[in-house]
């Protein structure tokens, strides 16, 4: 029994110690399943996965067309004031990489431009981002919106008139 105990201790120690030697308690990412033959050291910091803002541009109307299946699960549309519209169609979907000092522009269906930029990353998988909407002339429509969100979280900018309805911009932080 003594030998079994020693073997068990060695096995558990061998399995667990390398995981914690990585300094992390969960901060290190798993080795990528790449074709590289070189093993990844747990001490080697991996580049942080860049985050993006996924913008879903919806057109809300009362044309009795229902909700576009491409929208997926978005229970907010069933709540007021979104429930005032019975039809939601996906007009566009874009992914804007979030990079500091490099704001990204997205042309909206109404000719205006949505600009999204990264302010900073206060925590892991968390960003502070700035958004604004400008008219084609360059005049501001929404001067500035600053949001702090984690990966997977979304916020909505809605209300702009567009073709017998309004535009609903669902902006979500994604990896």
């Amino acid at each position: 029994m003594k030998r079994v105990g020693v073997a068990l201790f060695s096995l558990v120690a061998g399995l667990t110690l390398p995981a914690y030697a990585g300094g992390g308690g969960g901060k290190s990412n798993p080795p990528a399943a790449s074709g590289s033959a070189a093993p990844l050291s747990p001490h080697k910091p991996e580049p942080a996965q860049s985050l993006s803002a996924e913008v879903l541009i919806l057109h809300a109307t009362n044309e009795k067309k229902g909700i576009d299946a491409r929208i997926g699960k978005l229970p907010e549309l069933g709540k007021s004031p979104f429930s005032n519209y019975d039809s939601y169609q996906v007009l566009d979907r874009a992914r804007l990489p979030l990079k500091k000092d490099a704001p990204q522009d997205l042309k909206l269906p109404n000719g205006r431009t949505l600009q999204v930029g990264l302010l900073d990353e206060p925590e892991h998988d968390s960003v502070r981002l700035a958004a604004s909407i400008n008219r084609p002339s360059g005049k501001e429509f929404l001067r500035l919106l600053e949001v702090k969100a984690h990966v997977g979280q979304a916020f909505i900018v809605a209300g702009q008139s567009y073709k017998k309805g309004i535009l609903v911009l669902v902006i979500r932080v994604v990896k």
Binding site: V12, A19, G26, P30, G78, V147, Q153, I156
Partner: protein
Amino acid sequence: MSVSRELLMRYHDGAVSEAEARLVEEAIESDPALLEELEAYSELGSFVRVWAEANTDKHFDIADSVMSAIEPSKPSPRVSSLLPRVATWVSLGAAIAAGSVLVARSWSAPPAVIGGPHAAGAADQAALSAPASSAAPEVSAALEEEPAPPPATIESVDFGKNTGSVFVVSTDSSETPVVWMPDDGEPDDDNEDRSKSL
């Protein structure tokens, strides 16, 4: 005339020939001290006999003694039960599983979120927040135990010359901050209908 002590003892034991017996008896007649010595042999014999009888009950056999000493340390018959082996392998499997879970968890678990609720800063700051939406990637049961990240927060909004409102839409699974900003009626400069180009 004297006889040897050895002959006297054999005479006492009756292990002498007739000639030797006659010789001893003649010596005793001439020397009464030999008779006393002969009587002493008798007493000694009685003593030895009594001692032997007294120790007869305490029968000591070295073979039995050794065997009795060995008996307790004799290994018990080996029971060929499967239970100890099964328990050993179950323990080993559990240890491997626990180690694997720890390794996988340390590789994949995101760090715990640090920080409290967001403090309202500027006067126009709208402290609206929402938890992670339901569209977030599925997480394992182990990760679900970790505290949920603080909800999304609209830290500030500047409507400029326009008007708008900020509120939260709550659902069963999320609370999403919303900036509602209707058009102010001011037409865009080019006033072009771009919907046809989409």
